[in-house]
């Protein structure tokens, strides 16, 4: 069930009622949460509920076996981990990448007269949220294997961790160690915590319904023109709009998820920390989709050797991680190219020795612009239907900026209006900057109340047509 649906309001109200009536009874709360989480998933995709049950059962069983296997039996433990990884990645791979691989192989081998799969356009429907809950489940088993956490004895608690409805469909990617302990003893509902949750939900709805959906409408309407028309500022404007749309869509989702969890007395990790303040590529990835970046670091980059095996190997590892991160977003060559752009950028930054940020003011400012411009341009690939279209949009945007050719189309007015919807993103980042630099203190309750009034006025009057969250497709 989407957060911006009335069905979801029913689910959340039921969860709040459950929270109120279950008091501090852990069992009733957890059982109720699991039931509601499965129900909300089955609401739109009942046929794929079994996959969540399967993933939960596999990792519950493997973790219990790992707990029962002595550390000395290294081979057996590695074998168990391999079983979990093979099954989890096998399921993810089948649903997410089988069609992509079949099509890519057909394109490559078809011309050479090699064998190709009979069904070239077989579209396997991607179970919603599979990339997120599979990564959560994998991280749980690896953490048990590494001895960082104990294997969970209660199947229901593990099921609650994996299926907890606020984060099930589009994250944040929660770690078992950060979540399971919270189920041990439900906290009392406190007004300040509940109000903080409500504020986060309000901010998330504002970012999604007002900013992301209005900008999304513009981007959808003019994207093909930006790819096909002669160079002009249209393409550059659309790339900025899409960058803001993507940020507000995903950060909005995360805000709602975290707010709903807060209202239930549970904490989810932050996923965005004003990414457009990042001065370096490395910093950007510490601020953007933080839970995915840290997952990639802990479960891909470090096992590959991390920083420990010489500069060439580090560069290869970084490239690999970013390619995997790109592919995680979707089985398309555009995501591979997008990941590669960022992999190369991070490697370049390390090679230049500025991964921690250039020291001088002007080089720092120049590198900041380079980082943000690269991110925005790379989203041309992220949003494109194919690599050629992505290339054309990026090329038109760069050419349009360098020649400052005006937008000749009749859409100039709509594009001009679109820039107003960028302002909330700027304001959000400036407020974060003021806190980071200690120009201003943290946002006070009264300030939040003022923002909330403004945001509700905008939600009720400026909302655009309900689009699905972008990250639902990943």
């Amino acid at each position: 069930v989407s957060f911006v649906s009335l069905s979801f309001v029913v689910v959340q109200l039921a969860a709040l009622l459950l929270r109120a009536v279950s008091g501090r009874s852990r069992v009733a709360f957890v059982v109720g949460l699991v039931a509601l989480s499965w129900l909300s998933y089955a609401w739109s995709a009942p046929q794929y509920l079994f996959l969540i049950l399967l993933t939960t059962t596999i990792d519950y069983g493997v973790a219990r076996l790992l707990a029962a296997t002595p550390p000395a039996a290294g081979g057996a433990r590695r074998g168990l981990l391999l079983v979990s990884l093979t099954l989890n990645l096998g399921i993810l791979g089948y649903f997410k990448y089988a069609t992509f691989l079949a099509r890519s192989w057909t394109a490559l081998a078809g011309g050479l007269g090699l064998w190709t799969p009979g069904v070239t356009t077989a579209d396997i429907v991607l179970p919603i949220g599979i990339s997120f809950y599979t990564f959560e489940s994998i991280s749980y088993t690896i953490d048990v294997y590494r001895g960082r956490i104990e294997a969970e004895k209660s199947f229901l608690k593990l099921a609650c961790f994996i299926a907890f409805f606020p984060h099930l469909v589009a994250g944040p990617i929660v770690r078992a160690g950060d979540f399971l302990y919270q189920l041990e003893r439900p906290r009392r509902i406190r007004l300040t915590v509940f109000a903080e949750g409500t504020y986060l939900v309000t901010r998330g709805l504002f970012l999604k319904l007002v900013v992301a959906d209005n900008l999304g409408q513009l981007v959808d309407l003019h994207w093909k023109t930006a790819a096909g028309a002669p160079p002009g500022t249209l393409a550059a404007s659309l790339l900025v709009f899409f960058a803001c749309q993507l940020f507000c869509d995903f950060a909005g989702y995360t805000d709602i998820a975290r707010g709903l969890a807060y209202q239930l007395g549970l904490r989810l990790p932050i996923n965005f920390d004003a990414p457009h303040l990042a001065v370096t590529f490395s910093e950007f990835w510490r601020r953007w989709h933080i839970t995915l970046s840290s997952w990639m670091r802990d479960y891909v980059y470090i096992p590959l050797g991390g920083n420990r095996r010489g500069s060439v190997r580090v560069a290869v590892n970084l490239l690999l991680v970013m390619l995997v991160a790109g592919l995680w977003h979707g089985a398309k060559w555009t995501f591979v190219v997008w990941g590669a752009i960022h992999g190369v950028a991070i490697v370049l930054e390390r090679t230049l020795g500025i991964a921690r940020g250039p020291r001088r003011g002007w080089t720092r400012a120049a590198w900041y612009v380079a980082v943000q411009a690269t991110w925005i341009a790379s989203l041309g690939m992220f949003r494109a239907e194919d690599v050629q279209q992505g290339y054309r949009v990026i090329r038109n945007a760069i050419a349009g900026l360098t020649t400052l050719t005006g937008t000749s189309s009749s859409s100039a007015t709509a594009i001009a209006i679109g820039w107003w919807f960028v302002l909330p993103v700027v304001a959000l980042h400036l407020r974060s900057l003021s806190i980071e630099r200690r120009w201003l203190g943290a946002v006070t309750p009264l300030e939040k109340a003022a923002y909330a009034g403004l945001m509700w006025a905008a939600i009720l009057t400026l909302y655009a047509t309900g689009r699905e969250f972008i990250y639902f497709q990943f």
Binding site: Q217, A414, I417, K448, A452, L454, A458, T465
Partner: protein
């Protein structure tokens, strides 16, 4: 952190003040040329009885409701003697308030399977098959385009959904619309980017008769135009023949007609009537106007529908099939 009553009051007052200021300020913001801004309020209207809302932000719900047999619509279609098929011009041009009472006066039940978004005959025919409907007469009302063998976008979407998904989508859309009607009766929606909340029409659909019921409609008047006919209508024959064969199997008569619009074509009626051996009804277009260039305005529709019904009910095939002459011998009051 302690949260005393004063603090709660201060937060509530700040929220309310900010909300009030913002709701007054936002419509005045000069985001672009004034002409690009629309303040959308939903006017007050009476919701017709036994009817559901069918169109929201460009999404037509009729096809979803009919295809998945939601609510009472299909049960009522099953009981109908005459089924009307076509696109949105049919129920607007042959309005319920004329056709349904006229049919009821003869003891007949009618039901409309016509849907908006340029729905075609294929959708209605598949509904007849899917729900095994057995009408006595099927009246296809529309220009040549209704015999193009394609599904409209809403019909395609409806086919892809499971019944559960359709039911929840319907409930969702219906509840959202009810909330929007209440909200935007006092607080207008601001639209700068052309994504309109409602079109010039606000339509409901009767579950009892299947008719689209406009509760808000445009008030413009555009003259009817008659366009030159296509050189050949032979491409329409396969679907028309398939429909005729399906209705023959069910013992139903097929009748063809058209409701005029901006560039009406009528040549397909004579062509298909002759090829299929079915009756056609072509009332006079004199003095007809559309409200939006496509759908008849209310007064034209009433005149046109009355003329249609008079001609339709006089057709020998119709009288024979509905056994109207037998009835009129028993009861002169029911004579057509």
């Amino acid at each position: 952190m302690r949260c005393g009553p004063r603090k709660i009051l201060a937060v509530a007052v700040t929220f309310a003040a900010s909300f009030l200021v913002a709701t007054n300020l936002l419509p005045r913001l000069p985001l672009g040329p004034k002409s690009a801004q629309r303040l959308e309020s939903i006017p007050h209207f009476e919701v017709p009885r036994d009817a559901f809302f069918v169109e929201t932000m460009g999404d037509e719900l009729s096809q979803m409701v009919l295809w998945h047999g939601l609510g009472d619509s299909i049960d009522n279609a099953r009981r109908a003697d005459i089924l009307f098929v076509g696109d949105s011009r049919m129920p607007v041009g042959l309005p319920e308030e004329v056709i349904v009472p006229a049919a009821a006066a003869l003891g007949l039940r009618v039901f409309s399977l016509a849907c908006g978004h340029v729905e075609r005959v294929r959708f209605a025919m598949e509904l007849i098959r899917k729900f095994d409907l057995h009408p006595k007469i099927v009246v296809v009302v529309g220009g040549p385009h209704v015999f193009k063998d394609v599904w409209s976008e809403p019909a395609e979407k409806a086919r892809r959904l499971t019944r559960w998904q359709a039911l929840s989508a319907w409930m969702e859309a219906d509840t959202r619309w009810r909330l929007q009607v209440r909200l935007h009766s006092w607080l207008p929606r601001i639209d700068w980017l052309g994504s309109r909340l409602t079109g010039p029409w606000i339509l409901y659909r009767s579950a009892r008769t299947g008719w689209l019921l406009p509760v808000v409609e445009p008030s413009s008047r555009y003259p009817i135009g008659v366009a030159a006919d296509d050189p050949s209508y032979a491409s329409l024959l396969p679907l028309a023949r398939e429909l005729k064969a399906e209705l023959d199997r069910r013992g139903a008569e097929l009748v063809l007609s058209v409701v005029p619009y901006g560039d009406t074509r009528t040549g397909h009626l004579a062509f298909l009537g002759q090829e299929l051996g079915v009756a056609t009804v072509l009332p006079s277009f004199d003095g007809m106007f559309t409200a939006d260039g496509s759908h008849l305005d209310r007064s034209s529709a009433e005149t046109y529908a009355a003329d249609f019904w008079r001609r339709f009910i006089a057709l020998p095939e119709v009288r024979r099939k509905l056994r109207l002459d037998d009835r009129s011998q028993d009861d002169p009051a029911t004579a057509g």
